[in-house]
Amino acid sequence: MSLSSLQLCLLFSSALFCLGLMAALSRSNTILVLLGVELMLNAANVNFIAFWRYGPNPEAATGVVFVLFAIAVAAAEAAVGLALVIAIYRHQKNIRLQEATRLKG
């Protein structure tokens, strides 16, 4: 069985997605969970680029534009997420996710 380039790209992105998923599910450190989510976003970006590259009408550049937006949103997500991590740290003196159970500050 031979794989085409597109299939390779998709396999790459799904592997990346699953890595991020596993990290987000298994690690107890909030920062690493955030980074796992970040990896999943990146995997989605890889898909966009792959389908733009091998898709039927690459001249539309929609995939590229979408990735640019995704990067911007991911940057916002990372900034807010890490600010949340710091806020959690100030309240409970560590950043273990399973201990962040209180809604009151």
Partner: protein
């Protein structure tokens, strides 16, 4: 093809190592390497602009934020590892991840995807700019608003509740030069 496989392997390996290591700084740095690998992938695919944006945003900015967060949130003592809990979670994660990966692989291999490697499409920066400012202008505005709000939100969240340190300094700075620090009051 070979280049793609190489890039994918390096990216996946560094991402996997980042997710497995206990040292958070090493994790963050390895993750940065994997982000750089993604930029290499974008370059390979012909999306120059996206690759540079990826490096600028991820390697230049997000990695810094992550490193700052790691250094600002070091626990006073090493976190105690609770094996049963961790093991269970790891097992659940492994099973879920493996299942999702299996579904993905099955779907990818069995779908009738266009197998022809078309000549690499190029999108000029000008074209991209016109797209962004034309068809996607609304989205661009929304993203701008989102980034501004996110910036403000992050500042508010991360800001400490303490009195601003600069307050007392400002009092000192505000006085005309040569006057004593405290008002002399009614002293003769």
């Amino acid at each position: 093809m070979m280049a793609l496989i190489l890039i994918a392997l390096v990216t996946l390996a560094s991402a996997a190592a980042a997710m497995l290591l206990r040292n958070l700084i090493h994790s963050a740095l390895l993750l940065t390497a994997s982000w750089a690998g993604l930029a290499a992938f974008y370059l390979w695919a012909g999306a120059e602009f996206v690759a540079f944006a990826q490096v600028l945003v991820y390697v230049g900015a997000i990695s810094m934020v992550v490193l700052f967060a790691v250094l600002l949130t070091r626990p006073p003592q090493p976190m105690p590892v609770t094996p049963p809990n961790t093991l269970g979670r790891a097992l659940v994660a492994l099973i879920t991840g493996g299942a999702v990966l299996g579904v993905f692989i099955g779907a990818i291999v069995s779908s009738p995807l266009p197998a022809t490697a078309a000549p690499a499409p190029t999108v000029s920066v000008k074209q991209l700019g016109l797209e962004l400012a034309g068809r996607h202008a609304g989205a661009l505005l929304i993203v701008g608003a989102l980034l501004t709000v996110a910036l403000l939100g992050a500042v508010v969240l991360a800001a400490t509740d303490r009195e601003p340190v600069g307050a007392s300094l400002d009092d000192v700075r505000g006085r005309p030069p040569g006057t004593p620090l405290q008002k002399s009051g009614d002293a003769p």
